[in-house]
Symmetry: C2
Subunit: 330 residues, 2 copies
């Protein structure tokens, strides 16, 4: 049933029905009530497509998780998506999901009002024009600070440094001196570069801190830890860029007959839900993914509905101490 059929049933014009359904003021309260009741009764609902065509508003945002980051992980996607979906639906927006970087047919791209991109690739002004349908789509990027790579976009920057600093200081407070940092590809550089300051503030000698590069898989963390834990003067604490790498490190420790945290302390990063599965429960630097998702959604909806200017918000991280860390062994 379309609006004219429905209106005919009520002996009203499509205009009145439309106004009532849109909560316009110019329609009398009784008429509106009657229309609403009848709609419910007859099961009439407006065609969203036609509304979109007419109004130019899609009430649609897309969450885009590109596969080009060395820290992007399936493990926190649901947490993020849940927050985005919740916030979007609460504002009457529906959520499209794109997980793969498959080349899509530009000729047929689904028009959306807003775009939330996780770790956006570097983008030229021209790419941006295509992506945003000539600027008519608002975009917010969730990334680490410094990734200001999409023109006119808002950013939710997740600054991991506060949590990382906390972690180093915490390890220092436990008496650890020799520490290995297991990084995860290029984004790890920020920690590597900040190491002198990080160590200084923690009261550590940066000479005692070794940085090893790993990939993103558990096995990468396992291998990195295996290597580092078999060094002559092995570190007493391992700090990994992701919880996944930390899980690998724990496996390596076990394999070498080391006890965690008695022989070696291990700290992860991200506080993914799957942390709960690990034994011993993992001390980790927590990223608040639900907050990031909710904030990203709020930001993009603000740009869409209230014409907010692009903004940059930086989210912090903090250490959560659980059972995988302990005093430095003698």
């Amino acid at each position: 049933m379309n609006i004219s059929e429905f209106a005919k049933h009520l002996n009203l014009s499509t205009g009145t029905v439309s106004r009532a359904l849109n909560n316009r003021a110019e329609v009398s309260p009784e008429t509106r009530q009657m229309i609403l009741a009848k709609a419910e009764e007859l099961g009439y609902s407006r065609d969203a497509t036609a509304r979109r065509l007419k109004t130019g508003k899609n009430r649609l945002i897309r969450l885009e998780c590109l596969e080009n980051s060395e820290v992007l992980s399936d493990f926190y996607l649901v947490e993020l998506a849940r927050a985005v979906e919740h916030a979007a639906h609460a504002s009457g927006y529906d959520l499209l999901l794109r997980l793969s970087s498959q080349r899509r047919n530009q000729l047929d791209s689904q028009p959306v009002d807003g775009l939330i991109i996780l770790y956006a690739p570097v983008m030229t002004e021209h790419d941006y024009q295509i992506l945003t349908n000539n600027g008519s789509t608002s975009v917010v990027v969730i990334s680490e600070p410094g990734f200001q790579n999409v023109p006119h976009a808002s950013y939710i920057h997740i600054d991991i440094m506060p949590g990382v600093q906390e972690a180093f200081s915490y390890l220092a407070s436990l008496g650890h001196k020799r520490i290995a940092y297991i990084s995860s590809g290029s984004p790890g550089r920020s920690v590597r570069e900040a190491l002198p300051k990080l160590c200084g503030d923690a009261g550590l000698d940066s000479q005692d801190v070794v940085v090893v590069d790993a990939g993103i898989a558990v096995e990468d963390g396992y291998r990195a830890a295996m290597q580092v834990l078999q060094m002559p003067d092995r570190p007493t604490a391992l700090f990994a860029r992701t919880d996944v790498l930390a899980a690998g490190a724990i496996k390596a420790a076990y394999r070498l007959g080391l006890s965690v945290p008695k022989d070696v302390s291990i700290i992860g990063h991200d506080n993914i839900d799957a942390c709960a599965l690990i034994y011993p429960s993992l001390t980790t630097v927590a990223i608040d993914f639900p907050e990031a998702g909710a904030l990203a959604t709020k930001t993009v909806l603000g740009m869409i509905d209230d014409n907010c200017e692009p903004s940059v918000v930086t989210l912090s991280t903090h250490l959560i101490v659980r059972e995988s860390t302990g005093p430095c062994p003698k």
Copy 2:
């Protein structure tokens, strides 16, 4: 730019342009080439909303993950969603995601061509009419066998019994006799009911198998295992309905100073990605979520595009032996 502006640029009619863009036969190859090239050059792309309104095809499917199941877990959602998204995009469909069961405004429901529902709730014919827009939306349900609760829907039934049988037989072959099954709410009943047969086929005495009910969280598995492992004649093997519960069971074993698998063997279920984080690597009954997702998508697209009749496909499971299981201790 819309199609008439674009057509004007080329000194062609909108009809010709439309036909070219739709790969219709009646347009000359050169014209089509030229149109395609110009579209690329001028950055013209068709408005999907207008196409939808005209054609009645949304090229949209929705993945709906309702929060009403005791086995539904965030841990395999991404795997499933990835498969669905991949298959959908490959066929030119976009994917809407609904994770929460928030009451949505029926007056404004987003029209989709197809619906993939994970663990659908029981549904009356009337619910179905609303859900499917009077039957114009195809639906496929992913669930355990026996959940035929949506009228006219296709089903991807995941029959866990083959894998469960394998697991019991495998434990029997390792010499285990006293086994605890940690179930996860109501769906666990199927295993409880099948226990006599399961044990018979495995050569076990069902008297020796205890079933404990747990919830869905790691802590639930922990508590259940704690209880069971402190029984006078404690089981030598634990089999949990989900990997999450199994992870909890492993934690309990460790806490009690038991070694896995030397003192107690532990088997999980689902083979979620997060299994990789657990030590020792978890022997588990694998559900092929990517296959389920891909098949669900293929099925719903078949119903949409090729008018396929609703079908019921049953997917099986199988045991993956890793390191959390070993011979029964003396």
